[in-house]
C-alpha cells in the first residue's frame, strides 16, 4: 500500500534532474504510482 501520494517538494530535485525518468521511477516506485512519478519528474525538469 502506498503511504501517501508523493509531491515534488518531497523529492531531491537536484538528484531528479541528474537522473532519467526511468531511473527516477525505479528509485521511488515504492512511494507512488508510475504515472505520478513520471509527472513529478517532468515537473522538476521543466523548471
Amino acid at each position: 500500500m502506498k503511504a501517501t501520494p508523493l509531491h515534488s517538494k518531497n523529492v531531491n530535485a537536484e538528484w531528479a534532474k541528474k537522473h532519467t525518468k526511468a531511473e527516477f521511477v525505479k528509485q521511488h516506485k515504492h512511494l507512488d504510482t508510475e504515472e505520478n512519478l513520471k509527472a513529478i519528474h517532468d515537473e522538476l525538469n521543466k523548471k
Binding site: 503511504a3 538528484w15 528509485q27
Partner: protein, 318 residues
C-alpha cells in the same frame, strides 16, 4: 621605571554621587548557559539579541546557549568574608572574599531538565542570569561594548522527592559558585526594559531532544522512521508531518565513514505515523550492511528554516 612596581592610587576612588536612576539587580528568574569566553556585543540590545539568537539553535552543542527558565527560589549560600582581627588593637582586615554561591530552584521542566543539567554537574560553565527587572546580568567582556557569561562551578543536585505535607513537590535545583569580582567590579547589566523586558528574556527556550525509532524494517535504501520528543513523548508526526517530509529535514550518513548518503525523497507515511526516507543505493557512501546507516533529523538551524524550531534528534542506526 616603566610600570614595574607601580600602582596608580588615584584610581582607587570612585565618585559616589548618583542620579535619580541607577542600576540595581532584581530577583533571579532564569539562567542562560553560554560558551565559556564567548563575547556578545552590547552595542545595542537589538545587536545583542541578534548575536544570542543563533546560539540557541547552534548545531554544535559546545557552541550552544542553554536557557533555564522559571526559577522559583534562589538561595544565597555565600559565606562571609574571611576576617582577621588583630589582637593588639582589635582592628580588622579582610584578606579574602569567598565565592558567591547561589542555589537556583525550578519546578517546570522537572526531571527532564534535571537529567539534562546533571550531564555537566561539577563542570565550570559560563552563564547569564535573567532577573525580575527584565535584565540580563553577565560580566564585562574584553571591550566596553562586549559582555560575556559569568564563569563558575555548576552542580545540579539530585532531586529531592516529595515526601509529604512539608515537602509536597519534588525539589530540583542547580548550584552556581563564582568569583564575586565578575558581578561586582566587572558586572555587565543589560536592560531589556525597552526591548521586550522580562517577557522577551523568559521566552528564550532551549532545544528539545527528539528520539527517532524504526517504523518498519529497512529494505535496501528505504528507511522508515518515527520521531517523538524525549520528554513528554510528543509525536512530531502530529505536529510537523508535512514540514519534515522534505529532503532537507533529514540526514543519513555511513556509520563507518561518517560520509553523507544522498537522500532522494522523504514522504509522509501514514501507515507507520512517520516518514519514509529513500536513499540512493548507488551512492558510493551507501552500505547494505544492517545498522550501517545512521539517520537523524537535520541540525536545529536547518530545522528552524523549515519552521520546525527547537529540536535536536538522536541518531538511529539502520
Amino acid at each position: 621605571m616603566g610600570v614595574q612596581n607601580s600602582k596608580n592610587c588615584s584610581k582607587s576612588f570612585g565618585n559616589t554621587g548618583v542620579g535619580d536612576c541607577w542600576n540595581d539587580i532584581g530577583i533571579p528568574r532564569g539562567i542562560i548557559f553560554v560558551p565559556i569566553g564567548k563575547e556578545y556585543t552590547s552595542v545595542s540590545i537589538a545587536a545583542f539579541k541578534a548575536a544570542l539568537a543563533p546560539d540557541l539553535l547552534a548545531d554544535n552543542a559546545a557552541l550552544r546557549a542553554y536557557p533555564i527558565q522559571n526559577i522559583v527560589v534562589t538561595t544565597d549560600n555565600t559565606a562571609d568574608a574571611a576576617v582577621t582581627t588583630f589582637a593588639g588593637d582589635g582592628s580588622i582586615a579582610i584578606g579574602f572574599e569567598p565565592n558567591q554561591d547561589m542555589t537556583f530552584q525550578w519546578t517546570q521542566g522537572g526531571f527532564c531538565l534535571l537529567h539534562a543539567l546533571r550531564k555537566s554537574k561539577g563542570q565550570n560553565r559560563a552563564f547569564f542570569v535573567i532577573d525580575s527587572k527584565g535584565q540580563l546580568i553577565g560580566t564585562q567582556g574584553s571591550t566596553a561594548d562586549t559582555v560575556k557569561g559569568i564563569v563558575g562551578y555548576n552542580y545540579t543536585n539530585p532531586a529531592k522527592w516529595p515526601v509529604g505535607t512539608d515537602n509536597p513537590i519534588p525539589i530540583y535545583n542547580t548550584r552556581l559558585s563564582f568569583r564575586p569580582e565578575q558581578v561586582n567590579e566587572d558586572i555587565a547589566i543589560l536592560s531589556f526594559a525597552d526591548d521586550g523586558g522580562l517577557g522577551y528574556l523568559t521566552g528564550l527556550v532551549g532545544l528539545q531532544d527528539v528520539v527517532l525509532t524504526q517504523g518498519a524494517a529497512r529494505a535496501a535504501g528505504v528507511l522508515k522512521v518515527k520521531a517523538k520528543t524525549d520528554c513528554g513523548s510528543v509525536d512530531l508526526y502530529d505536529v510537523y508531518d508535512g514540514e519534515l517530509a522534505v529532503v532537507g529535514a533529514w540526514k543519513v550518513v555511513n556509520k563507518a565513514t561518517g560520509n553523507v548518503v544522498t537522500i532522494t525523497a522523504v514522504a509522509v507515511d501514514t501507515n507507520i505515523h512517520g516518514w519514509t526516507i529513500t536513499v540512493d543505493t548507488t551512492d558510493p557512501d551507501y552500505t547494505a550492511i544492517a545498522g550501517g546507516l545512521l539517520v537523524s533529523l537535520a541540525g536545529p538551524t536547518e530545522l528552524d528554516a523549515l519552521d520546525v524550531t527547537g529540536y535536536e534528534s538522536n541518531t538511529l542506526a539502520q
